[in-house]
Amino acid sequence: MGTYVIRRLLQMIPVILGATFLIFTMVFALPGDPLAGKCGERPCPPAYAAAFREKYNLNDPLPIQYGKYVGNLAQGDFGETTNGIKVIDQLKARYPITAKLALMALAFEAIVGITVGVFTGIKKGGFLDNLVLISTLVVISIPVFVVGGLSQYFLGVKLGLFPVTVTSANPSFYQLMLPAMVLGSISLAYISRLTRTSLVENLRSDYVRTATAKGLRRRRSIGLHALRNSLIPVVTFIGFDFGFLLGGAIVTEAIFNIPGVGGYLFRSIRARDGASVVGTVTVLVIVFLFVNLLVDLLYGLLDPRISHD
């Protein structure tokens, strides 16, 4: 297991290097002035432009530019905002809120999605099953910001069940509940469909027949023997989907005015603060890569057939 983690970490290095190079290329090597839009709507003052070129080594050849860029990243230097505040400091203050939101959304989508998937899977072909199959497709089709806007109106403004927007700098569990449900809603539909498909397949398997022949209760045959196997692809999906969750967090935080990383990114885009945008997204991509590593490790724990030697 230990060597496996190390090997996976080593394998991640080229991917991280490649991803940062890609981001670097998009930021600095696309046609156009890298300074464009870095200073809001106005053109940059010459002094700032010179400092910017110096800071991002734009006068060097491309490979050296990239080398220095990665060097800065490795030291935790993700650049500065137009106001001269370090991006990393901004992120440090905000990531706990986003982490809380993302974890709540994950818990919501996993618990509800798996439950729905199990109930439709064991009653395959029934009315509930068909209803869920179609309604999940409808939910998948509604973009997060539409779900967000509509639920904010109906559940927040109309019914008053949830706070409409988050007002505090350190939002409570209750304040984040509706945003988390919105954020988890689309993956929820995917998870319930995937759980259903996977459970239906496993219910036909020989080892579930064995579980019945062992005289186990139906609840145990399904809930433990079949479900344990059905969850393997679901866990993989949740990790794979984490990138979508991060994207959705930007939208959700923008709608509900949550002062997390996503809300910060949203305001940076609006303010055309390029350095903040790039720094924030780079961090999010690296987080995504680590989450995928974690999911791979978890996958090995769930499925002993995957060798980690």
């Binding site: 398997s205 064995t210 022949a213 062992k214 209760r217 145990r220 023997h225 344990r228 057939r305």
Partner: protein, 348 residues
């Protein structure tokens, strides 16, 4: 836990229900029918099958794939998928009590402690994500309420009993880490864990190498004699049954076509189908001769031909065979066969 048991005293069960065999009679299957209701029509998989099973007896049910032998086993075990399977008629009595009319929870409690089953493909029949010891121990935990560590100790003893080397070290290993023969031993350990009175083995050696096949059959025979279980051995392989079985029932298109003691059946089959099966076994003393395979295919279970279901493949078939279905009848004392010309076949 004792490894041997007194065959006359009833076993104690946590469920409170006790099952006592009368005169050693464990299982009575009477005029059993099983149908599969599919979108294409109704397939009759079992068409009026009857047999008894006594303590310490081993019965082999022999047939080609699709003959209904596995369905019979699954019907006794109560693990058919219903739907699509339907049991429109018949009785399966265990120690005098009809399993088919029993409340599901009571029937469930018989699976494992009373009637137990091992399957053909141990790799797919064992759960891939749980350690083998855990899967054996689950029997003690769920049926007897034994705590986890005691159940695991009992699982280790069982693994030793079925001759798994270094059982104590391998109790936490997963099914895929064992060889095919070892996996089948684990299946057997799990099936005999609660000292069942009836053990059903559905093609237990088909997926294994020939040398391993012999070892597994020897183990099954040993365990059966040690515990005086009633053993139902489902197989398509005449060679496998010869040493282990006492009686053989030959199945064709959902019916028994012949029932006999194993020695008598081998020396003089009373049904052309059985004869065909025996002739299709390669024999060392007939080297150089052509193997006599049975021509044709078993009938489609949705369209079983009128008359004798075997008539399209039978070399002896005459008009009566195409018209009247022969009943299973006593040909000579102790020998049953369903053939209009059974007397001629047995003396041929």
């Amino acid at each position: 836990m004792t490894t041997t048991q007194d065959t006359t005293t009833p076993k104690e069960k946590t469920s409170g229900v006790t099952y006592t065999p009368e005169d050693g009679l464990l299982l009575e299957v009477e005029d059993l029918y099983v149908e599969f209701h599919t979108p294409d029509g109704i397939a009759t998989a079992i068409n009026g099958v009857s047999f008894d099973l006594h303590q310490g007896e081993s019965l082999a049910i022999l047939g080609e794939s699709g003959s209904g032998k596995s369905v019979t086993a699954q019907a006794i075990m109560g693990i058919l998928d219903m739907p699509p399977a339907v049991i429109p008629g018949g009785h399966i009595r265990y120690c005098g009590q009809d399993l088919l009319s029993m409340p599901e929870d009571q029937r469930r409690r018989t699976r494992g402690p009373e009637v137990s089953m091992i399957f053909q493909d141990a790799l797919s029949s064992l759960n891939p994500v749980f350690p083998v010891g855990w899967q054996i121990a689950e029997m003690f935990r769920m049926h007897r309420g034994v705590n986890k560590s005691d159940a695991l100790q009992q699982a280790i003893r069982l693994m030793e009993r079925v001759q798994i080397p270094a059982a104590r070290d391998r109790v936490k290993a997963y099914p895929h880490q064992f060889s095919g023969g070892m996996r089948q031993r684990i299946m057997i350990a799990m099936a005999i864990a609660l000292d069942p009175a009836v053990l059903i083995a559905d093609e237990p050696t088909t997926a294994l190498d020939v040398t391993v096949q012999a070892q597994i059959m020897a183990l099954l025979e040993e365990l059966q004699q040690e515990r005086q279980m009633g053993l139902i051995l489902i197989t398509h392989d005449l060679g496998v049954v010869a040493d282990v079985a006492d009686r053989i029932a030959v199945m064709y298109a959902g019916r028994f076509v012949e029932k006999a003691d194993v020695v008598e059946l081998y020396s003089a089959p009373a049904h052309p189908y059985t004869r065909g099966l025996l002739e299709s076994i390669p024999r060392l003393d007939q080297k150089g001769q052509t193997l006599a395979a049975i021509g044709g295919l078993p009938p489609n279970l949705m369209r079983i031909p009128p008359g004798c279901p075997f008539n399209p493949r039978c070399r002896r078939a005459e008009d009566v065979c195409r018209r009247d279905r022969p009943e299973l009848r006593e040909v000579v004392p102790g020998r049953l066969a369903a053939c209009h010309f059974a007397e001629e076949v047995i003396n041929a």
